[in-house]
């Protein structure tokens, strides 16, 4: 019996060890395209950036548009263009870690390529996975992509301000998610209107404080 993804797994273990020794928390953000990963990062940089030192790895199939949007926060950002690849892997993360001064970073947010399946299979060496899903995608995402929602340590439902204009059934969404992962914290927010986003800020602050002790 040999694990097919051994190469990725071994490199992820190396990354995890390095980040732990440098006291850097790494958050692997996984969502569909357009769910609001970059908008979440914008408001998180704005708010959390006051108390913690943030770095960002932007995984994108092509272009650096997401990174351009974050430039105004004056934080270290590295772009990984996967050139068609549908996920980041631990080797691509390991390669770019050298571009950061890890001693000056408390939290490294990784914006994975927009996709709910492939990124869930590839351990990057992250501290935890954050699943982000938006109202416009429909309420069936946890049921269709159980692995991501089972493995995530936090789930954000974004664009809740759109609920009145859609057939999104929030009770169904909550109950499907609870079936898959009864214990995961769920934040129902709108990153653009700011609804409830404070709950996410409080949670990530708490996680960071306990990590950095």
């Amino acid at each position: 019996m040999r694990n097919i993804l051994n190469r990725n797994q071994n490199k992820a273990a190396e990354v995890r060890k390095l980040l732990a020794s440098e006291k850097v928390m790494m958050v692997n953000i996984i969502s569909s395209p357009g769910a609001g990963k970059t908008t979440l990062l914008e408001c998180t940089c704005e708010e959390i950036g006051r108390d913690f030192r943030i770095g960002v790895i932007e995984g994108d199939i092509t272009t650096d548009r997401d990174a351009q949007r974050l430039k105004k926060y004056d934080i270290p950002i590295v772009v990984i263009n996967t050139e068609g690849g549908c996920h980041l892997d631990s080797h691509s993360i390991s390669k770019v870690l050298g571009s950061f001064n890890l001693k000056d970073i408390d939290v490294l947010f990784v914006e994975n390529v927009g996709n709910l399946i492939c990124p869930s299979q590839f351990d990057l060496g992250e501290t935890f996975k954050l699943a982000l899903v938006s109202v416009a995608e429909g309420d069936d995402k946890p049921a269709k992509y159980p692995m991501l929602f089972r493995e995530a340590e936090a789930v954000i439902l974004n664009k809740t301000d759109l609920i009145p204009y859609t057939n999104f059934n929030i009770d169904k969404f909550r109950s499907d998610l609870r079936d898959i992962n009864a214990r995961v914290p769920l934040f129902e927010v709108s990153c653009t209107s700011g609804d409830n986003i404070k709950m996410w800020y409080d949670w990530i602050r708490m996680r960071l404080k306990s990590y950095l002790i």
């Binding site: 097919i4 051994n6 692995m147 499907d176």
Partner: protein
């Protein structure tokens, strides 16, 4: 599309093992995938075929066994299979669970001559 990358990694391992084992032709590759990995066998076979084109494994048959998701309850020790996305102990109702099967991506064996 994670099938592509996983097939490439599998191809590299198969060719390495074939070389180490002195096989000039690989006839069968027997693998186990956990259900949670959500691999589409046809796409995987196609991707593997591409990855081993022109090598000792180009005619190899890929035999895929899909294993169900199995959890162990931390509260009562019960092992149970999840086939309905309901991650809750069938015996005591606890949600404090550990996955013990269903995320595998294993090569069981490689056959050839």
């Amino acid at each position: 599309m994670h099938e592509l990358r996983i097939a490439e990694d599998l191809a590299a391992i198969v060719l390495e093992e074939a070389k180490n084992g002195g096989l000039s032709k690989v006839s069968d590759v027997n693998i186990t995938f956990g259900q949670m990995i959500q691999i589409v066998p046809d796409i995987f076979r196609f991707a593997f075929r591409e990855a081993v084109s022109g090598t000792a494994a180009e005619e190899a048959e890929i035999n895929i066994e899909i294993t169900p998701v199995k959890m162990r309850c931390a509260a009562c020790g019960n092992d149970f299979i999840v086939n309905d996305n309901k991650f809750e102990c069938r015996s005591c109702g606890s949600t404090d669970l550990e996955i013990i099967q269903g995320k595998e991506l294993f090569i069981k064996s490689i056959e050839g001559e």
